[in-house]
Symmetry: C2
DNA sequence: TAGATTGTTAATCGATTAACAATC
DNA sequence: TAGATTGTTAATCGATTAACAATC
């Protein structure tokens, strides 16, 4: 009963969904059956109004006088987030960050499958990291096509990132999880999600200095 | 000439500062001397109005008819972000992510000094990662006090994170860079900057599914 | 039924954009 | 000086919060 067809949901709302999902998962694990927007708002330190507005972007998930069924809402938000779809990822860059992400295996059960790992450094090619063998960059395009990869993770320094993104887009990758500290220039139908760690540390630095 | 004394700058503005800083750094490296809000707005794909409003939260950094001096503005934003202050960090968790962050050494020249690395796993205690030796968790409090640590990085699974955060706060750490997938509960004068990688991947997933 | 709580409309608040006088 | 561009005020837009009728 999703009603977001054609509607444009703001990124502010979308950015809050994973946190709802996490809290509902915790409630579910704790065996809680139902929750009102008021009680959830106290737990999460947001307003009950915001919670109801957010959910109502996507459908009517609650029931007057009762609240929300935890299991049901958890499942629905999972669907909205696309976690019921299978995704196939590759990681570009087998450095420390590439390692860390490869082994971040708790994604697997959410439908994210890490299929391959690439690096341009001949020293590391052939190394095994988790289940994955490091492959040379030249094999990337072929691998993407043959394995139906839809998401690529860029975990290399900024110098090579823009060029790699171009290559990824050219062979049909639909989304890029970008850890390189640079803006990628991709067509508007390709999704880019940036994780700029140094931006995050600078924000911390600001708040620490000016508190 | 900062005029943000007492003023409350919104987190939206602060979150944009590191990106300005990066673009100005690139311009500086390219030998560009001055830039107008208009030209910068084209490069950064934001409005010139927003740029001028953002900067004017902190002072009058430009000159009518001229624009902004790149070197000067770069330095000023660096100061605003607190990058001229020296910070001393420890990392809790010597797993893959702890490794990656330890070696993320380009922070050093911005005044972030990684001083110590802690883990509860006896197998890894004593290991050397970069310049740092992994120390046992029991030594954490002592180390923080003796080395004047002001920032702690939490790079352990969510299970232990809340308790570790309590310990950190109790011995005077002023800011936490939190990579654990859990909300920390700390006094309001302690800064928490969250990096929830799975939230980021779920946001990507949403945008990929609903584009 | 009476009480609780949603879904939704209206009011408020804050952030972004536009406009322009000031001025280099 | 004339042209360019800032700093800042005013207008607009969007997001959050409040309120309440609908209804379980």
């Amino acid at each position: 009963m999703q009603k977001n067809e054609g509607k444009n949901i703001s990124q502010a709302v979308i950015a809050r969904l994973p946190r709802y999902y996490r809290f509902l998962g915790d409630l579910k694990d704790a065996g809680v059956e139902r929750i009102s927007s008021k009680d959830l708002s106290i737990m999460m330190k947001v307003t009950a109004s915001q919670i109801r507005q957010d959910f109502n972007n996507f459908g009517e998930f609650g029931q007057q006088g009762y609240g929300y069924n935890v299991d049901f809402l958890y499942e629905e938000i999972g669907k909205i987030l696309g976690l019921t779809t299978e995704h196939r990822l590759i990681i570009i860059g087998a450095g420390n960050l590439g390692h860390a992400l490869t082994n971040y295996s708790n994604y697997e059960n959410r439908g994210f499958h890490f299929m391959g790992l690439f690096d341009r450094n001949e020293q590391v090619i052939g190394d095994k990291i988790g289940d994955l063998k490091v492959m040379p960059m030249e094999k990337m395009e072929e691998f993407i096509r043959e394995n139906d990869i839809d998401i690529a993770v860029i975990a290399i320094p900024k110098a090579g990132a823009v060029e790699v993104a171009d290559r990824l887009v050219r062979c049909g990758v639909k989304a890029i999880w970008n850890f390189a500290h640079v803006d990628l220039n991709v067509p508007s139908d390709v999704i880019v999600e940036n994780v700029h760690l140094s931006d995050s540390l600078m924000k911390l630095s600001y708040n620490l200095t000016n508190r």
